[in-house]
Amino acid sequence: MGKIRIFSAKKIITMNPNQPETTHVAVREGRILSTGTLEELAIWDDYTLDETFHNKILIPGLVEGHAHVMAGALWRHVYCGYFDRADPDGNMWQGSKTIADVIELLQVAESKLKYPALPLAGWQFDPIYMDNQRVTRSDLDQVSATRPVGVLHASGHILNVNSKALELADLLRPGINHPGIPLDKDGLPTGELYGPDAIGPVSKYVGFDRASMEGDADALRAFGKICVRSGVTTITDLAARITEESVDKMLEVTEHPTFPARIVPLRIFMGASAKDTIDLVLSLKERSTDQLRLGRIKAVADGSIQGFSARMRWPGYFNGAPNGLWYTLPEQLGELYRLALANGVQVHTHTNGDEATEMALDTLAPALNEVPSVDHRFTLQHCQLADAAQFRRMRNMKMCVNLFANHHFYWGDEHYRLTVGPERARRMNACRTALEMGVPMAIHSDAPITPLAPLFTAWCAVNRLTLSGRVQGDGEKISIQDALYAITLGAAYTLHLDGEIGSVEIGKKADFAVLEQDPIDIGGANIKDIEIWGTVQGGRVFQAKKL
């Protein structure tokens, strides 16, 4: 039996209604032995008092229910985003405000590369904030004419490459006939690649190899560091191409004593039959550890709204774009649901458009009738356009939802004027309706699509401000308390982990986010500005500054 360590804090917000606030928490064997006053805790046994947090606020370790290890992987490339952002090691990267900034940033990075054949890649480039100026291969040829260079947009749906990259991919030739590859006056591609079909054949030449896009050991380690900086102690990898082999590596990384996060990878349903996928995750599940929770599946029903590939019900896209794409057939999804229910495997389903949500509901309902399950917690991920009637159906089917609250801020203005129009933009990610209809709810960042930062995500759900400063959907705002619940117990519930994490309670994991300010006192408008000192995960202290 390990020794007891009692942490004191200025305030501990427990999310446990029996004792909403306290000042001390006793930890043993990585778990919470008890919370209360020092006097109450002292009677357990001998202890060490740790006063590191005496002037900090402790809250339950935050839970990110929808992110990707890629959020760690991308930092091996050059950050070209518009907003300032800290990398996993805590270096602050200034936002690039112009195309020239981006080119300069890449030139500096290029000058540091050793071998001439090494590719150079940038990411999170967002010309939406630069009057949507286009970038062609001649722009990137300024960075290098000899090594392949590519810059991935924040949306993930556009890649700009230089001439060398095109040449390597055998695309610097006339006669290319692809709607995602615009041609210049000279009949050669401009270097702009639109959509995964066009990006696919080139991305690997500029450095976006499989490891970059899906994560490897280094990426996982970087991912862990980002978690500490954002107060996250449990996080999903929501569309992992896990195999029996890749799990070895993940186990090695996550079991390391300094790895600071509990990873919940969901195997993506793609490229294998429902049965093979279930068999795989059932076998992976057995290999789960405290720090690596395997055995769940992620299915994808449609694409994205801003990419116009989400499936929309009438009247479709506001700008008249044709309806989006199905990524999985209803029949295949139905087979997956039935087999998963029969095998006690949880499935999360990506739906963005409201038609995709409807299809998922229409598909799960008969599966549940056939294979009843009292507590399946099948979760719709994103589910951005669901209306009240759909939330009622989710409640009736005991489903959960994980809404993409960050979308308001980053794309809310685009949704308003381009993709779905004012009315649906106001109801997007309808947190309040979800709660009022009784659907267990979480909110997420989809990192790296938007930065991992649950307190920022909470701020989005509380304020519903768009980048231009408009409140979009006043009726869907939720309270600070509801938002804090969503990023702790709410997200834990969607993973069947609310019995282990999400609140500061006896027996749960000793997972805390360590804050410099009190999220309740600071007020809804300022939650995003709270400074995060670091985390405690499984009783181990991780200070962001010292990673």
């Binding site: 055998d170 006939n177 692809h178 709607p179 309806n323 029949e331 295949q332 229409d362």
Partner: protein
């Protein structure tokens, strides 16, 4: 058939769930007749190859009797195609069996970006009994209609399950959805290999111009002069709806050797560096193709 170094021809086969794609693929594999086929699948469901055809299987590649293979392209079609074209084993044709949610034309665009392979045609399969109902499906309607519209050849399967009248009605309806693609009625997935894969051109060398006893109605055109090859290709594709496929070589007025490929209403021409005899094999639908049907064509060819 890596014709004249232009790359392995790639056919995209699609159609909604239940149209009979798997049966058709197995039929082609069983009747490969010495052709080495590679089947690329992006399968969510069961493996689409009959067990008795499988000779060996590892994680990546399934070897099939007669030197054919099958592999899954997962999410990276380009890589899979590159690998195939670089294989030691010679491959005559690649058949991509696309999933029911696929946009076949998008797949074909991607094929067009890969060196070593050559877009051939999009073949869409429909079940005579269910296609019209499927095309009204709450969720899949627009996807199915888009697939039909993308077809170069439409194969109407399972016609034995409906009346002749229904075949007529369904064919008319299909023609409304896609006015260019020839419609080929079949049963049990048993379509002529040559119609799907277009391996007719070697007949020019093997037997010369003649009519096969079995198989689709065939006509071989043997141009005797240099001709306007583009006009010939266009004419075959647009003006002769009963020609499902045409493939072969002709010499254009500048003296260049040109490969002509016609799949339904899609045609392409490519300059070929090799020296090959002229001759275009046409595969017909329904009635026998006869030279008298091709007056304008013959005039064009000055035959």
């Amino acid at each position: 058939m890596n014709l004249a170094g232009l790359g392995i021809p790639v056919t995209v086969l699609s159609g909604y769930l239940g149209a009979g794609k798997t049966t058709l693929v197995n039929h082609l594999l069983r009747n490969a007749d010495g052709q080495k086929l590679a089947v690329l699948v992006n399968e969510f469901g069961a493996l689409p190859i009959d067990k008795d055809l499988i000779e060996a299987a590892d994680d990546e590649v399934i070897s099939i009797a007669g030197g054919c293979i099958c592999c899954s392209f997962g999410s990276d079609l380009s890589a899979a195609l590159s690998q195939l074209s670089a294989m030691n084993q010679p491959i005559d044709h690649i058949l991509i069996e696309a999933s029911g949610v696929a946009r076949p034309e998008a797949i074909m665009w991607s094929v067009g970006l890969v060196s070593g392979v050559l877009p051939d045609g999009i073949v869409i399969l429909a079940d005579a009994e269910t296609i019209q109902k499927a095309a009204r499906d709450k969720y899949m309607s627009d996807t199915i209609l888009a697939q039909l519209q993308a077809a170069d050849l439409l194969i109407l399967n399972k016609i034995d399950l409906v009346t002749e009248e229904e075949v007529r009605v369904t064919s008319s309806w299909l023609a409304l959805q896609n006015e260019n693609a020839p419609i080929i009625p079949i049963t049990y997935g048993k379509v002529e290999r040559d119609i799907v894969l277009g391996h007719c051109v070697q007949r020019i060398y093997a037997k010369g111009a003649h009519q096969d006893a079995a198989g689709p109605s065939t006509l071989t055109l043997l141009p005797k002069h240099n001709i306007d090859v583009l006009e010939l290709a266009q004419t075959l594709a647009k003006d002769y709806p009963n020609i499902a496929r045409a493939k072969g070589f002709a010499t254009n007025k500048s003296g260049e050797k040109i490969l002509i490929q016609v799949v339904g209403s899609r045609y392409s021409t490519s300059i070929v560096s090799k020296e090959l005899p002229d001759g275009i094999v046409c595969l017909g639908l329904g009635e026998t193709l006869r030279k008298r049907h091709f007056k304008r064509l013959l005039h064009l060819l000055k035959i």
